[in-house]
Symmetry: C2
Subunit: 409 residues, 2 copies
């Protein structure tokens, strides 16, 4: 049960007891006995694994006991604070853990209780603004360091796994436009446009008029400047407003990576907006992180990274379209594409480490690396999915006969 002790004793920490070791072993059992070595604050390795891919160091007793109460939140916070460290590659370590963790989270009653009472930030009109502000206030300069040139902050589409991130983001936009069958002169509305890359792409390559909504003032400002610089200001209109305030009639509705911020309590509202703005031959596409079954969010991601977020199962996503009678035409799962996108982001983040260190403290950087690596590992091991759902009015027969057109070069 106990491995070779070392002399790395955290100063001020009490001696490791039998209860500490017992609790750690129970924790590792409940995680499916991942192939990682765990060292406690004394340096003592508990429950060593012969095929360990990394060593996780727990620096104090408070962290160990906290992991038992709320493993998800405490691991994230302690890792960010340096009270948990990983010797070895963080992504490899997380993939090894996620690969064996039981996919059905049958968490203890106190964990579920803690999750329930944890501060859920409601997605009212002002709540959404605060939630989005928390993640994107960080500023364009930060994201520019590790996103692609177009600042696409959503899953890319790699026609092959060795494609570059830059190309894969362009391919994603092309894939979406082909699915939507955009035709010159059509009107498109985009809900949650980020820094506006897709809107510009649609206008430039498909000759459509786009109105793109976003509640992040910084992103909208960037998007407007860039559209102007690229001579697209007549065909793309960026509107700083909530998706609930969309007006007008459109031939296509598109939303890439916004649904995660909408909250399941608002899916019917979003559906009503889509129903109200799409013409009879209109098409819609919603692209969102998903799950293989309905499940609560991880506390750390929900509280520290994306407040107010919720990741739906496909059946839950359909609550946006089914009540309005839209016909689902196509669902594609791009899970492995998001694992690769996140890996590329993490590599670029690490490459820009010096610049980022000049802007943010170590806790921020550790938290951000954990978020990127943790999400990549989650997509790679089936904890997260990425669904693109294409839909249309059920009586729209003006549809391509097969999906072969998506794959023509």
């Amino acid at each position: 049960m106990t491995g070779s002790g070392s002399s790395v004793f955290s100063p001020g920490e009490p001696r490791v007891t039998g209860s500490d070791r017992h609790l750690l072993c129970r924790l590792l059992d409940s995680l499916g006995k991942p192939p990682v070595r765990v060292a406690l604050w004394s340096g003592e390795v508990v429950c060593d694994s012969p095929d360990a891919v990394a060593t996780v160091r727990i620096r104090d007793r408070r962290t160990l006991w906290g992991l038992l109460v709320n493993p998800n939140l405490v691991f994230g916070d302690a890792y960010a604070a340096g009270r948990i460290e990983v010797d070895g590659d963080l992504l490899t370590c997380l993939e090894a853990i996620f690969e064996v963790m039981p996919l059905q989270t049958d968490s203890a009653w106190y964990t579920r209780l803690i999750h329930r009472v944890a501060h859920h930030r409601a997605n009212t009109l002002t709540g959404s603004r605060a939630n989005i502000h928390q993640h994107y206030y960080i500023g364009n300069d930060f994201y520019r360091l590790w996103l692609d040139d177009e600042l696409a902050y959503t899953c890319a589409y790699y026609t092959s796994p060795d494609e570059t991130l830059e190309n894969a983001q362009l391919e994603k936009m092309r894939h979406v436009c082909r699915k939507l069958q955009l035709k010159p002169g059509e009107r498109v509305v985009e809900a949650g446009c980020g820094w506006g890359a897709l809107a510009r792409y649609m206008a430039r390559h498909y000759g459509v008029k786009v109105r793109a909504y976003n509640i992040s003032e910084q992103q909208i400002r960037y998007a407007r400047e860039r559209a102007k610089a690229e001579g697209l200001e007549d065909s793309v209109e960026y509107i700083e407003d909530d998706y609930r305030n969309i007006t007008g009639h459109y031939d296509a509705f598109v939303s890439i990576g916004m649904l995660e911020h909408v909250g399941s309590e608002n899916y019917q509202t979003l559906g009503r907006v889509v129903d109200g703005c799409l013409t009879r031959n209109g098409r819609g596409l919603i692209h969102s992180v998903g799950r293989s079954r309905p499940e609560p969010m991880g506390d750390w991601i929900e509280n520290r990274i994306f407040p107010g977020s919720y990741v739906p199962a496909l059946s839950e996503m359909l609550q946006v379209v089914e009540p309005w009678g839209f016909s689902v035409l196509d669902v594609e799962n791009l899970r492995l594409h998001y694992a690769l996108t996140l890996l590329h982001w993490l590599e670029r983040f690490d490459a820009a480490r010096d610049q980022i260190s000049g802007m943010y403290d170590d806790r921020f950087i550790r938290a951000w690396r954990l978020y990127l690596a943790g999400c990549s590992a989650s997509f790679a091991t089936g904890w997260l999915q990425l669904f693109q759902v294409l839909f249309a009015h059920p009586r729209n027969n003006n549809l391509p006969w097969t999906r072969a057109h998506l794959y023509m070069t």
Copy 2:
């Protein structure tokens, strides 16, 4: 409101009254004022439409009043009995009606009540056998007259709309096999195999071993004979049993057009069977008629054509896969392909009319034509959908990188 009267008076029927006319107009209003002419038993045309595509003749007052209580069941029964007739093309007439009918069935309370108390045939192990017997007892000779050579009695896949039915059924099987990524030597289980065409195709073209289940004794007998004649008896095993009794472990699970007979109350049971029989790298495909939102069955189809059947919305289909944590990889809607398949069946049915007349009475033939034309019109006008749902274990990463392989020639 009233058109030109004619002298075609049904003998014995009472004179048409103002109430009759009023009720008919109300009925047509509730149907969205379809562009059809309706003539009553006197020959009098009520609510004539300038762009009428056909004339519907209602032969007696009982039928008219019955239509108000349960339009779906009474139309079907009365058409089969010749108490309703259509002058003009039946399919064109039904498409014109379905095209304008409000898609949200907001039926009257008494209609919903009648639907609830209508005899629903439970899909217990013996109930399913009786239900399936009722539709398929008709016999192989009948189906051979108007299905393709392989006797595929499910939606075909047309790579282009001018493809023949024979080819499109082969293309459907190829499309399914490509989605499932079958490899030589793999084991496949099929739930609800009909006359066994897909099982033979998989064994012949993909070198897999297939166990195919079906509770129709006639179909199983035909399938076995044909596999033997084609030298496939070593690779295909047809089992006369219920999907609930599937045993063994398989690399792929496939079910084409069985889910409609399963009943939503058994979706979790079906999911448990799939979960129990698929290996860790296993893939599954379920192909089923669907709807754009959850909705009760039409009484006529449910009671006269497919007892015990239920057509699910996509969110309901997902109840087969989500509780077991399967990851949905791909959903494709082939609605227009089924409209075309059914049109081809109807054309062949009509071409074989003389032979069928020698086997069945006029009521049977009229009911069957209404079923084929009605379903084709339903798919063409968005009342019905056809979903192919591909799924896999959430940790199966042995997946094609994109769907381009489905479209290589």
